[in-house]
Symmetry: C2
Subunit: 235 residues, 2 copies
DNA sequence: TAGTGGTCTAGACCACTCA
DNA sequence: GAGTGGTCTAGACCACTAT
């Protein structure tokens, strides 16, 4: 124990190990040395090696098993971590002015697929709203949203969605919900094309999202982005 | 110290804290107790609390600063972790039979935007290939790929892309590269529609990906998925 | 059953940054 | 300057599982 590693050692160890993996010092599926051995090699505590290895396992680069040891992942699956910001942030991040407009709002009985998403019964009604989001007063995204009145009844009395969009209001109200998202491509229909001021048949990027908290379903929405929108990240 | 927490304590502490955050015990942007205080409250070592808090900070739920303390993230940004599997796995995961067909292959000088992606000079040539990926013999995705011959020269002599698609071959050859991905929607052109046996103008899901290793650019590709494809994850 | 990773602890020192 | 999180260590015991 000794010498060259003093601070941030587990980061350094992790990067060192990453390089050794990337350089194919250990091949796909191959066993790498045990924690104890690596600790000796790097001259640090086993805990430090453990943290580094766990981080790499989290990234999907290593597979670890008690008694089985640690292996380089035989099927490297790329993990992309993508953050889904609020639309306002997204628009303001590109230096544009954000605004939005509520174009429809009602209490109604949703279709069966929506009822399934929100786990509500046949005949139950829910809150529905359509919002157009603008960047510099040009349509940017179009949102269709259903909100479960059983979990968020107070939305019925919320009249002022001028300052805060429904999404922002929900985030303040039920901040840390979990959810499911899916991305797909969608041909603009008459309705979506009109809302986004684009052509029928345009290829829109569609984000479909359902949100719940403590097992109670809160909201489900479809968000159609204008042509040209890209969702980017690194892997 | 004592009593009820023995195993996996940092997981349990993490989930307990997560619930307290989700239930708004601490509001958005609010300071939560220090590690020392939480350690007292939970009756465990500070290290254990530290691991739990770091994990929540990694998820973007907490923001931590030395001396500043730990706060609930004031702007909850959803973090989706999505894994991008190899096409073969993707197809086989839904119980279909995977196959692929190389429909074009050449060494040529790419367009300027591709040259930029691969950081190669004007006039330099690169390896190009088009592949159609099938699920149960029906077109599933269409791939246009450029490979940098300066970093992966051996691909020029690789003749057999029947068993292994180019993607799989690259993963075996340069397993743990990093990269940039973007997702968007794209109207099918004559070329892409023909490859995917669909209609011109169909809304295709497009994955654009550029990959490098140790600062050397390896490959850039566009992958067009058939209509109906969805990329899903949880947040 | 033995070997590996998973976790906890108590204490220590450091790095940052707020007031 | 003082309070907070970031990290390291050495040792311990436990949980899992390959052999």
């Amino acid at each position: 124990m000794s010498s060259q590693l003093q601070s941030n050692s587990h980061h350094k160890v992790r990067e060192s190990l990453r390089e050794r993996i990337e350089s194919s010092e250990w091949k796909l599926g191959e066993l790498i040395p045990t924690e104890v051995d690596l600790a000796k090699e790097y001259g640090c505590a086993r805990t430090t090696i453990n943290r580094a290895l766990q981080a790499l396992a989290d990234e999907g680069i290593l597979i670890r098993k008690r008694k089985g040891g640690t292996r380089v992942c035989p099927i490297p699956i790329r993990q992309a971590k993508l953050s889904i910001p609020i639309l306002r942030e997204q628009v303001e991040a590109i230096g544009s002015e954000y605004s939005h407009q509520l174009v429809g709002r009602k209490i109604a009985a949703p279709s069966q697929s929506i009822r399934q998403n929100l786990k509500i019964d046949d005949g139950d009604s829910a809150f529905y709203a359509e919002t157009i989001h603008f960047a510099d007063h040009r349509p940017f995204a179009y949102e269709e949203r259903w909100v479960n009145l059983k979990t968020v009844p107070e939305i019925e009395n919320e009249t002022d969605f001028d300052l805060l969009s429904i999404n922002e209001w929900l985030i303040k109200t039920v901040p840390f919900s979990s959810g499911e998202v899916s991305f797909s491509a969608h041909k603009a229909t008459e309705r979506t094309a009109k809302a986004l001021q684009t052509d029928i048949g345009a290829a829109l990027f569609l984000v479909d999202r359902t949100t719940w908290m403590n097992g109670k379903f809160i909201t489900t929405m479809k968000l159609y982005y204008r042509e040209g929108y890209r969702l980017s990240t690194t892997i």
